[in-house]
Every structure is written in structure tokens, then in C-alpha cells.
């Protein structure tokens, strides 16, 4: 695998391969010295044109645990401010000899564009509303680990909130569907994309109707600027209709798990302290973020061993 830009590009075999490889990485992270020399001599650059806490830090931690060198590109202090183009920026960094770019950008397709300009591997850490493949891998791995299962056949994933503007939702719908889950979307019509009819999902506008048949509840963050854009009448009304409170959590089956990609808006979509919910996987999602990104970087940069790994999983 040369790049990781979308779940579709990764495919079913790739998803399964990375989820299996992540188990090796979880074990490494549990060691007293959680560091291995696997990517010694490789350089990983994180290039974040949008803000991030967990994705950027977990990629950098992942690279360091595999002994890769890391460089962080900080847009606000770079020559982008002098008007340097994205292409010139990428070519300049490439000339320094890097092996992978980890990219987050507000525009859909940026990782594909960047891979035209460099021989390095490109990892999509979020492009616009489009894809956030490593988050979907984190979420699939977290459910597998929590429920002790490998596939999600017969299970229902309910994703609640701002589907339209969510790259997390798009990547998760694809990844969870690949592993056999039924996906239900719950959102006001203003926060659903116009082409949702073509997606492998069913749609509901009433959260209360679907809770009882939900096995995996996925709460999305409501970005506050959506209110000023007229997508929701008020944050309070949104919370009353689509937020997770104690009464709604009680309607879930006892075995259902709850996830949120972070950062959380307490008091908007999360009206209950998630640490008070017995089946919340939110902390596991963050903890697994490092291991999943180790698996991704190893798969991209360790050479042919990855291909061999694929062959042995498939056989």
C-alpha cells in the first residue's frame, strides 16, 4: 500500500489487514518501553492546515513509537503566510527527503492532489467533508476489541448528528458497512447530504425511534457554526431532539456501545457525562488511535512485509 486516502481505496482486505496489524501495535503500547525500531530512518511529516489535537498527536506518537523521525509543519509560522503555494510547499518538504505526509486540509481531495507532487506516501488525516479513514479504522478496531468480534454482521450502527459536513461519518459508513453492519443515520434534513439516497444506509429523523435497535451509537460533534448558517434553529433545540441524555441512553439495549470522535460539545450533543455511561468507548477510541496509526505507518513504510501480511491474512 502506497497511500491511505480513503476507506474505499483501502478496500475490505486493507481494512482487515490494518485492524489485525493494530493488535500487534496495542501489545507494543502496553510494554514498559513502548518503542520498537521498525521505522528507523524513516521521516514522517505532519501537515495540518486545520486544527487538531488527537489526530495530530496520535500520528506523531505513533511515528515515534516506531522510531521514525517526525517533522511538524505549522501553517501559521510557515512560508504559506508569504504566499507560497501548496505545491511549492510540498515539493520543498519532499526535497528534504521525507517518506510520508500526514495531511489535514479543509478541501476535499487535497491528499490525492498532494500525491501527484511527491514520491512520498500520503495519509489522509481529514480532507474537508470527505474522508477521515484512520478515524474509521480506530472506531472499527475499538468495537471489535470491546465486543470481542471480528465482523459486525447483524449489528446496527446509528450515527447521529451533522452527517452532511462529517468526514468521520462518510469514512465510518463505508468501513462499518464493509464489515457487515447495518448503518442508520439520524439527523435533521438540513444536516443530511443531498445524495444520501445513494448511500448504503437508512435514514431516520427521530433518535428515539431507533435507540432500541441500536448496537453501536455514534454521536457526531455539532459544529457551532452550523447554527449561524441556519442548519439548526438553536443549539438547545438540537440537543433536545438529537442529543444524548440519560433518558435516551437508558433506551439503548444493555449491550450497546457509545462512541464519539471528539472533540465533544458537552451540553449540545452530549447532555450526559460520558464517563457516567457504562458502555462508553470514548476513552478507548483515543487510546486505540495511537495503535491504529502505528499500523498505518508501518503498513505504508515498512516495505514488502505489508504485502506479505496481506497475502497471509487472505489465505
Amino acid at each position: 500500500m502506497k497511500h491511505l486516502r480513503s476507506i474505499d481505496e483501502l478496500g475490505y482486505d486493507g481494512v482487515v489487514r490494518l485492524l489485525e496489524l493494530t493488535r500487534h501495535m496495542v501489545e507494543i503500547n502496553a510494554r514498559p518501553v513502548p518503542k520498537v525500531p521498525a521505522l528507523r530512518g524513516k521521516t514522517v511529516v505532519s501537515l495540518f492546515f486545520e486544527d487538531s489535537t488527537r489526530t495530530r498527536l496520535s500520528f506523531e506518537t505513533a511515528a515515534k513509537r516506531l522510531s521514525a523521525d517526525t517533522m511538524t509543519f505549522s501553517v501559521s509560522t510557515s512560508s504559506v503566510n508569504k504566499g507560497e503555494s501548496l505545491r511549492d510547499t510540498i515539493e520543498t518538504i519532499s526535497d528534504m527527503g521525507v517518506d510520508a505526509f500526514v495531511v489535514r486540509h479543509k478541501s476535499t481531495g487535497t491528499p490525492w492532489q498532494i500525491s501527484e507532487w511527491t514520491n512520498a506516501s500520503v495519509v489522509n488525516a481529514g480532507d474537508g467533508w470527505h474522508q477521515h479513514p484512520t478515524q474509521a479504522l480506530v472506531d472499527c478496531f475499538t468495537v471489535r476489541q470491546a465486543l470481542g468480534i471480528e465482523r459486525f454482521d447483524g449489528l446496527t450502527l446509528t450515527i447521529v448528528g451533522d452527517i452532511k459536513h462529517s468526514r468521520v461519518a462518510r469514512s465510518n459508513i463505508t468501513a462499518f458497512s464493509m464489515l457487515g453492519a447495518n448503518v442508520v443515520l439520524v439527523a435533521p434534513p438540513t444536516l443530511l447530504p443531498p445524495d444520501v439516497a445513494h448511500w448504503p444506509v437508512t435514514v431516520s429523523h427521530r433518535l428515539d425511534d431507533v435507540l432500541a435497535r441500536t448496537d453501536m451509537l455514534y454521536m457526531l460533534r455539532l459544529q457551532s457554526e452550523r447554527m449561524s448558517q441556519g442548519h439548526v434553529p438553536s443549539l438547545r433545540e438540537y440537543g433536545e431532539t438529537f442529543g444524548l441524555d440519560a433518558a435516551r441512553a437508558a433506551k439503548l439495549p444493555a449491550t450497546a456501545v457509545i462512541m464519539h470522535p471528539g472533540p465533544m460539545n458537552r451540553g449540545v450533543e452530549m447532555l450526559v457525562d460520558p464517563s457516567a455511561l457504562p458502555n462508553s468507548l470514548i476513552h478507548q477510541q483515543v487510546a486505540n488511535g495511537v495503535a491504529v496509526r502505528m499500523a498505518v505507518l508501518f503498513d505504508l513504510l515498512a516495505g514488502e512485509s505489508s504485502t506479505a501480511y496481506l497475502a497471509s491474512v487472505a489465505s
Binding site: 521498525a38 508501518f298 506479505a308
Partner: protein, 173 residues
């Protein structure tokens, strides 16, 4: 051309002898630990632990497994084996760790395992037990306990299991 060079009984006797030698050298099983190298060494570590328990029924020797794929110097040439995950759920600090592998060849896997063990702590000593030493070392590594020294051609294929050791000559014949 395949040739069985150790029978199932030969393997069983070699394992019993190695268990005796380990206990003799350590003067018992206190602060002893066995770590099998995934995958070929895993069954052998279990078998040696079982043999130790036959000799000293009250011994409780911890057994672990280590996946060395992330520590190799030839990463990219060898696959990571799915499911062959390390499991060392005891403290290695202060113990004598006997690394266990089925076949000792270039020594690169053992070198990787010695480095890997250090990510779990600092053993008092690290030793090496192998069922077959087939020669052709590329690093200064020497086993402490050997089931059988087996002269081989570098291209030969050597398979060691509980059921016996088979050498397959891939050049001539």
C-alpha cells in the same frame, strides 16, 4: 529430497534433556522464565515448560511469547504473521530469560528477540535454547542449549515440529 533427521521420540528426548540442562545450569527453576519466539519457538517453549514440570512438579516457570517482526534488521523482507502477537505477562526484571526457538540459522531472529526483550525490562541474564542448530551464522550468537547440531546447505529447508525434524534439500537431487 526430504529426510527426517529427528523422529518424534528424538524430539521428545531432546526436549527432556534441554529441560534438565536448564534446571542444572540455573540450579532450579527459581527466577527462570521461558520466552518462545513467534511462531516456531512457541510450541517448543510450551514443551520445555511441560518437561520442566515433569522433573520438578512444583516449579512454576512463566512462559511468554515474543513477536520479533518489529525488531528485525530485515524489515520489509519478512512478513508480520497475523495473530503471532507477543505475550509476556510477567516482569522480566531480574529473571533469567531463556529464549526458545525451533531452528537457529543466521542468528538475526535471535538478535531481534534480544532487543525485543529489553522493551519489557532488564533480565538478569538471557540464554538461548534451540531444537536444531543448522549453522550459517551471520552474527556472533551461540546457543546455550541445543537439541541437535545439524550440518546443512544454506539453501536447505529445515522444519522442526513436535512430530520430528525434516530437512529438504532444494539444490541438488
Amino acid at each position: 529430497m526430504s529426510n527426517m533427521v529427528m523422529s518424534v521420540d528424538d524430539v521428545r528426548r531432546a526436549i527432556t534433556r534441554i529441560a534438565h540442562e536448564i534446571l542444572e545450569r540455573q540450579q532450579g527453576s527459581a527466577s527462570l522464565a521461558l520466552v518462545g519466539l513467534q511462531r516456531g519457538g512457541a510450541w517448543l517453549a510450551d514443551a520445555i515448560a511441560a518437561a520442566v514440570n515433569v522433573i520438578e512438579p512444583h516449579a512454576t516457570v512463566p512462559v511468554g511469547y515474543i513477536d520479533v517482526s518489529m525488531h528485525r534488521d530485515d524489515i520489509g523482507l519478512r512478513p508480520v504473521v497475523p495473530g503471532a502477537i507477543s505475550r509476556i505477562d510477567f516482569a522480566v526484571d531480574g529473571t533469567t530469560v531463556v529464549l526458545v526457538d525451533d531452528v537457529l540459522f543466521t542468528g538475526r531472529t535471535v538478535r531481534a528477540a534480544m532487543e525485543g526483550i529489553n522493551t519489557y525490562g532488564r533480565p538478569r541474564a538471557v540464554q538461548l535454547a534451540v531444537l536444531v542448530d543448522r549453522g550459517h551464522r551471520e552474527l556472533p550468537i551461540r546457543p546455550d542449549y541445543v537439541g541437535k547440531n545439524l550440518p546443512t546447505h544454506v539453501d536447505d529447508d529445515v522444519r522442526a515440529t513436535q512430530d520430528g525434524v525434516v530437512i529438504t534439500n532444494r539444490v541438488s537431487s
